[in-house]
C-alpha cells in the first residue's frame, strides 16, 4: 500500500479531469497520463445498440437478484403483471418453488437464472449470456441481515459474518452494476435500483443494534451515490429504495402487527422506481416517497 492517494487529492484530480473533458481534453497530457479515473474508463466504453424498437411493442426487461422469495419474488410477480420480461435470479433455483410456479404461468416472459451474487465469475458469465439484451431496470434486491445475535458489541461480534454481509449487501450491487451497466445503458428506462434500508441511515440511528447490517447499508449507500454521479453522463438513473419493515422471512420473529404486507411494500417501491429521473438520481427513497437522510 505504498502509493496511497488521499481522497482529497483525488477529488482535485477528478475536478481537473472534469475540466479536461469539458474543454475537449486537448492538452494537459501529464495529468491525463498520471490518472485513471472512473469517468475516463467509462467514456472509453461503447454502448452497443441493442434496442430494435422503442415502439408500442417494446417489452421492457427487469433483472432481479434474490428473487426466490419475499420481496424479490413479489417484484417478479408485479413486473410480470405489468407485462414486463423478467430475469429472476436465485442461489438455488431448484428450491425456488414459488418462482418456478410463476414461470409456468409466464413461460415466455420469465427466465430463471442461478446466481449467488458473491460469485463474481458467475455474475460475469450471466452478463455475457445477456450481452445482447437491454435491461431497463437492474434491481439489486438480494440482501442478508447477518443475524442480530452475531453483531452484539462486546458480547458477540462475529467478524466473518460482517465480511459476508458486506459482500452480499454492499459489494455485490456494485459488481453487478459493473457487469451489466452497458445493457442498462442500451435500454429504454436505464435504471439501476438497489433495495437499501432505513437501517442504513446514520442520521436516523437512535438505538444501537445490527452493527454489521447497518454498516453494510451505509457502505452501499455511499457506493450508489458515487455510481449515480458517474452514470449520470450515460443517462443511467441510480436509486436506493426502502421497503420498510415487511412481512417476509427476512423479518421473521417480529410481530406481524409491526410489518407491512409484501405486496404493499413492493408496490410502493415500484412507484418510487417509476418516479425516479435523472434529476433525482442517487436518491434514497422511503416507501412513502420521502427522502431518507444519509
Amino acid at each position: 500500500m505504498s502509493s496511497l492517494t488521499n481522497a482529497v487529492s483525488a477529488l482535485w484530480l477528478a475536478a481537473v479531469l472534469a475540466l479536461i473533458s469539458v474543454f475537449g481534453g486537448a492538452a494537459v497530457s501529464p495529468v491525463r497520463a498520471a490518472a485513471h479515473t472512473g469517468p475516463q474508463i467509462l467514456d472509453q466504453q461503447e454502448v452497443p445498440v441493442l434496442q430494435e424498437s422503442l415502439g408500442e411493442d417494446y417489452v421492457p426487461t427487469v433483472l432481479i437478484t434474490g428473487s426466490n422469495r419475499g420481496i424479490g419474488l413479489e417484484f417478479a410477480r408485479q413486473y410480470l403483471e405489468r407485462g414486463w420480461s423478467v430475469i429472476a435470479t436465485a442461489r438455488r433455483p431448484d428450491a425456488a418453488e414459488a418462482l418456478n410456479a410463476l414461470a409456468e404461468k409466464y413461460p415466455d416472459r420469465l427466465a430463471i437464472e442461478q446466481l449467488d451474487v458473491t460469485d463474481h465469475a458467475r455474475v460475469d458469465a450471466l452478463a455475457a449470456k445477456y450481452a445482447d439484451r437491454p435491461i431497463d431496470v437492474l434491481l439489486n434486491n438480494a440482501g442478508i441481515g447477518g443475524g442480530s445475535q452475531n453483531q452484539v458489541f462486546a458480547q458477540k461480534m462475529d467478524y466473518a459474518v460482517f465480511e459476508e454481509v458486506l459482500r452480499v449487501n454492499a459489494v455485490a450491487p456494485l459488481k453487478i452494476t459493473e457487469a451489466f451497466w452497458k445493457q442498462v445503458a442500451a435500454s429504454r428506462d436505464k435504471k439501476i435500483i438497489t433495495v437499501s434500508s432505513s437501517q442504513g441511515s446514520i442520521e436516523r440511528a437512535t438505538r444501537p443494534s445490527l452493527y454489521f447490517y447497518r454498516s453494510s447499508k451505509a457502505a452501499l449507500n455511499m457506493v450508489m451515490r458515487n455510481l449515480a454521479e458517474l452514470l449520470k453522463r450515460r443517462e443511467i438513473i441510480v436509486g436506493l429504495v426502502n421497503p420498510g419493515p415487511t412481512d417476509t422471512d427476512f423479518m421473521a420473529g417480529l410481530p406481524k402487527s409491526m410489518l407491512r404486507p409484501t405486496p404493499d411494500a413492493v408496490a410502493d417501491m415500484l412507484r418510487n422506481i417509476d418516479g425516479l429521473t435523472l434529476e433525482t438520481t442517487g436518491s434514497f427513497l422511503q416507501y412513502d416517497g420521502s427522502i431518507i437522510p444519509w
Binding site: 477528478a14 466504453q45 459493473e178 440511528a205 457506493v223 444519509w294
Partner: protein
C-alpha cells in the same frame, strides 16, 4: 541479591502499586498467561494510538507526549519505525507496540497485556486508502475492498471491543476514530474511491451505533477528520497539486482540539477539522 528475587520483588511492588492506585485489574480477556504491563503508581492520562509510525499517527504520539500523557503507540513494524522509536527513547511513559489492526488475535493479546492500564483515549488512527487505481469503475479490484474494510471499518470496532474495559476504567473515557470527509455520503460530488469512501461510511455507522450503546456507560465516541494533509497517505506527486494542503502538525492539533471538545452530549458526532459538524 539474585536477579530472580529482584525481578519477583519488582513484580510484587508493581502489582501493589497498581492496587493502591485502585485501578484494579481490567478483564483478563482469557489470556492469563500473557504477562501484564503493570501500571506505574502515579496515575497518568493514557492514550493508545494505532498506526503511529508516521504521518498523523506519529504526530498524535508527539503532541500527546508533549502534554506529558502516557502513550501506547502501535504500528505494524516497530523495528522500522525510526521516528517513533526516536520519540520513545528516553521517555519511560511511551510504549511502542507491534500491532496490525486486522490481526484480531494480536489485538486481543495487546488488550490482555495492558489489562491493568486504564486508557483514557483510544485513537483509531490506522487507515489505508487502497490505491486510487484499484477502485476505478470498470477495473474494480474487489480483493482490495476486503483489506480496506478490514483496516478502516473493522479495525476500529474490533479495537473498541478489545479495549472497552480499559476505556471504561479511565478518567476521560473516549473512543475516537480518524474518519474522512470523503466518508460523507451527502458531500459526494465526483465519483471515485469506492472502497475508501464506503469504508469510511461504514465506520461512521459503526461508531454512531457505538456512541448510542456506550453513552449510558459514560464513554464518549467520536469521529474526527484531518482534512487533506501532506503525509505519505497522499502520493508525493499529488501533494504538490493540492492547494492549501495542511501540514501534519496542524491537522493533528486540530483533531486533538476536537477530541478534547467531545463530551457525552456530542458523542457520536462527525467533526471536521475546523470544528464544524460534517453531514453523514
Amino acid at each position: 541479591m539474585s536477579s530472580t528475587i529482584d525481578a519477583d520483588r519488582r513484580a510484587l511492588l508493581a502489582a501493589l502499586a497498581g492496587l493502591t492506585a485502585s485501578w484494579g485489574t481490567i478483564r483478563p480477556a482469557g489470556a492469563e498467561d500473557i504477562e501484564a504491563v503493570t501500571a506505574p503508581a502515579q496515575p497518568r492520562t493514557t492514550v493508545l494510538i494505532t498506526g503511529s509510525n508516521r504521518g498523523l499517527g506519529l504526530e498524535f504520539a508527539r503532541q500527546y507526549a508533549a502534554r506529558d500523557w502516557r502513550i501506547i503507540a502501535t504500528c505494524r513494524r516497530p523495528e522500522s519505525a525510526d521516528q517513533l522509536n526516536e520519540l520513545a527513547s528516553g521517555n519511560p511513559d511511551m510504549f511502542v507496540e507491534a500491532l496490525d489492526v486486522t490481526d484480531h488475535e494480536a489485538v486481543d493479546r495487546l488488550a490482555a497485556r495492558y489489562r491493568q492500564v486504564p486508557i483514557d483515549v483510544l485513537v483509531n488512527n490506522a487507515g489505508i486508502g487502497g490505491g486510487m487505481e484499484n477502485q476505478l469503475f470498470g477495473r474494480l479490484q474487489y480483493e482490495v475492498f476486503s483489506t480496506v474494510m478490514a483496516v478502516n471499518a473493522v479495525g476500529p470496532i474490533k479495537m473498541a471491543e478489545a479495549f472497552i474495559e480499559h476505556v471504561k476504567a479511565s478518567g476521560l473515557k473516549k473512543i475516537m476514530t480518524v474518519s474522512s470527509s470523503q466518508g460523507s455520503i451527502a458531500q459526494v460530488n465526483m465519483p471515485m474511491l469506492y472502497w475508501y469512501r464506503s469504508s469510511k461510511s461504514a465506520v461512521n455507522m459503526l461508531m454512531a451505533n457505538l456512541a448510542l450503546q456506550l453513552k449510558r456507560r459514560g464513554v464518549t465516541v467520536g469521529l474526527v477528520t484531518p482534512g487533506a494533509t501532506a503525509t505519505d497517505f497522499i502520493a508525493e506527486e499529488f501533494r504538490k497539486r493540492i492547494p492549501n494542503i495542511r501540514q501534519p502538525d496542524q491537522a493533528t492539533a486540530d483533531m486533538i482540539r476536537n477530541i478534547d471538545r467531545f463530551t457525552l452530549e456530542t458523542t457520536g458526532q462527525f467533526f471536521n477539522y475546523d470544528g464544524s459538524v460534517l453531514p453523514w
